[in-house]
């Protein structure tokens, strides 16, 4: 009767309950919107790959067949609730909704029920370190919180050492070649290793006796490892030693500074149209401290993914990996090379052209990738109708006009090297910006899958073959390119 005598209290109570329900629903939506897709990375001597993690009943699950299939011959058979898997000579049987499985005739208790999802057999992540050794007959180390699975002895170790030169450099040596995604932000340079089985050093935080780069930290989460280097100045990373060494040094000038195009050049530089935006600056800021022979431009980047080559593979990632390999090969031949987009950054076409023109390279190479056809296609500029040059200033839209023959000569040299390596090659002109805005010999490369199919497009072997051919072609044309003015 106490409630009856205080009706408004009851109304207030229910109002509060309703308010709570709606708040919960609203927050749930917010959480779902912002939640990052969970992933697990698997490292083995056969392949390194990443799979999506499915959350069911508060547990993280992953497809068992998807884990084993890249490692060896595996096949499955579904019979009602029963899911049978054979990997090489190991047979296993799971039942949907049950937490007991049989592997090679022996029972195994899973920490949660096995699930069937449209024929996919899902096992809880927590059981991988006990389940997989029965199939693989090799030690398995699972970093459960970061979802990184190491099969066998595949770990990549690294050391970091500061060189007290002027400016100081941080040299990181890795036990195997690495190709991280690099991002810069004020006071920090981050390197994200998703495909590399990188393991932490003795201490996850490294301190250095340097005011410019005082520390670095190792962290791992969501299937990736990250090394973050703190710096009091904008930092740049460069690769050497076939990807085994990353050298981090202060950028030659402020990365956020607007692009300078007013240096008195030996060749009149094309000026970008006034409407261009300078809001996004590249990782590699340039002010001509070093004469670059080549500028390699990894097309697309940031929010602009380029072509979707497969469900998982974006053009921007293939171009970045290839651009870095190309820099290694060109540097190895003594051709100092600048990679315009050395990270997952958004750069406009005008910014790419403006940056290139400001360093006056002997050759500009734009890198693209496509799923259509096979082999490699080389392009020089198909020039649009332009407004004509004005005195010492080149018309922005047709800045390439005076370099067409040099570009075609370089293209022919590259084409010959691809031919020498039995890579199918084709040469064309193309309406592809910013080729027409470049005041230097300029060539674009579009790599298509090799005969092995689209999955080979980002393979290290194929990209290395392409990078070697391009570098050899540029080196062969070095004298001609050096004479271009």
């Amino acid at each position: 009767m106490r409630w009856s005598s205080r009706p408004y209290s009851a109304g207030g109570f229910f109002f509060l309950v309703l308010f709570g329900i709606f708040t919960f629903i609203f927050l749930s939506f917010l959480y779902l919107e912002s939640a990052e897709e969970k992933k697990i990375s698997i490292y083995s001597s056969v392949a390194n790959y990443t799979l999506s993690v499915t959350e069911r009943n508060g547990q993280d699950y992953v497809g068992l067949f998807e884990i084993l299939e890249p490692l060896g011959t595996a096949n499955i058979k579904t019979d009602g609730l029963h899911w049978k898997l054979r990997y090489k000579t190991v047979a296993a049987e799971f039942t949907a909704g049950e937490s007991r499985a049989r592997v090679q005739g022996r029972n195994l208790d899973l920490p949660a029920s096995f699930l069937l999802d449209n024929g996919r057999g899902l096992v809880p992540l927590a059981c991988l370190s006990t389940l997989l050794p029965r199939f693989l007959a090799t030690p398995v180390a699972f970093h459960e919180t970061s979802r990184r699975l190491f099969i066998g002895n595949v770990a990549v170790h690294f050391t970091a050492q500061i060189n007290k030169t002027n400016p100081p450099t941080l040299v990181m040596n890795f036990s195997s070649p690495v190709n991280p995604m690099i991002a810069t932000e004020p006071g920090k340079l981050r390197m994200v290793f998703r495909q590399e089985p990188l393991v932490p050093p003795g201490s996850r935080t490294l301190t250095f006796d340097s005011a410019v780069m005082p520390s670095a930290s190792f962290d791992e989460s969501n299937g990736a490892a990250e090394i973050a280097v703190t710096g009091s100045a904008p930092l740049l990373a460069s690769f050497s030693n076939d990807g085994r060494t990353i050298t981090i040094a202060p950028a030659p000038n402020q990365a956020q500074a607007p692009v300078r195009t007013s240096n008195p050049p030996s060749t009149p530089a094309a000026s970008p149209p006034p409407a261009q935006s300078a809001s996004t600056a590249p990782a590699a800021a340039v002010e001509r401290p070093v004469p670059y022979f080549a500028v390699v431009d990894a097309s697309h980047g940031g929010e602009e993914r380029g072509a979707a080559l497969t469900d998982q593979l974006a053009e921007k990632d293939v171009t970045l990996a290839l651009a870095r390999r190309l820099r290694q090969e060109l540097d190895a031949k003594g051709l100092n090379t600048l990679v315009l987009r050395d990270g997952d950054l958004t750069l406009s076409l005008d910014q790419r052209a403006s940056l290139t023109n400001s360093v006056h390279p002997k050759i500009y190479i734009s890198v693209h990738a496509a799923s259509l056809g096979t082999g490699v296609r080389l392009y020089t500029a198909l020039l649009p109708q332009g407004g004509g040059d004005r005195g010492p200033f080149l018309d922005w839209d047709t800045a390439q006009a005076g370099f067409r023959f040099a570009s075609q000569s370089a293209e022919a040299s590259l084409s010959a090297e691809f031919g020498n390596r039995q890579v199918p090659v084709r040469t064309l002109i193309a309406p592809l910006r910013p080729l027409n805005n470049i005041a230097a010999p300029a060539v674009a490369i579009e790599i298509a899958p090799p005969a092995g199919g689209i999955s080979q497009l980002d393979s290290a072997a194929y990209q290395q073959l392409v990078a070697e051919a391009v570098a050899a072609g540029v080196a062969a044309a070095r004298d001609k390119l050096g004479a271009v003015r």
């Binding site: 009706p7 009851a10 109304g11 229910f14 072509a307 198909l382 649009p384 193309a430 309406p431």
Partner: protein, 196 residues
Amino acid sequence: MIPRHLLIGVAAMFAVVLGMSVYVWRMRGRVEQVEAPVVDTRTVAPPVSGPSEQVTLYVAYDEPGVLRAQTARIALPSGRQERAQELLRALLGMYLDKSSSHQLGPGAEIRDVYLVDPGLAVIDANAAFADTHRSGVLVEELTVASLVQTLAVNIPGITRVKILVDGKQREALAGHADLTGFYDVSAVNELASQMR
């Protein structure tokens, strides 16, 4: 007698149920909108009146990555501008076929072609033409070369071509082929000869 707090509780629950029903009903309507069958968005043009003529279409073939000249007989009106539109619509009609050698996305259409003296042709494609186009240097330049070359070969006097999307300038067709400039017909002719 039913206690007052229970009455209030039941009333509140009814209110919640009613509110959720209205919400679900509206969401269902939205889903139906989303899942509605794809409507052919192409403009409905009146049947072309005019004699059937033999024309040369430059047709793209993805697999070898070539452009081939093909003759076809299509009904063409007498006006120069209308002829240009019909030519490109006939070409796109081939690309929209499921067995096409160079498939374009559903709904791709040429809205208009404007001929501006001296020698300028402006092609205005609809948004679906660019939004659904596959991305890649070769596949995009095949489309551009096919359109420009077909127009230039069949409509005398065209020396440059501009491509708009939905009446506006666009930076690139699908991330690669430049749409900001004017295509020089002689340069595209050189490209077409490389693509044979």
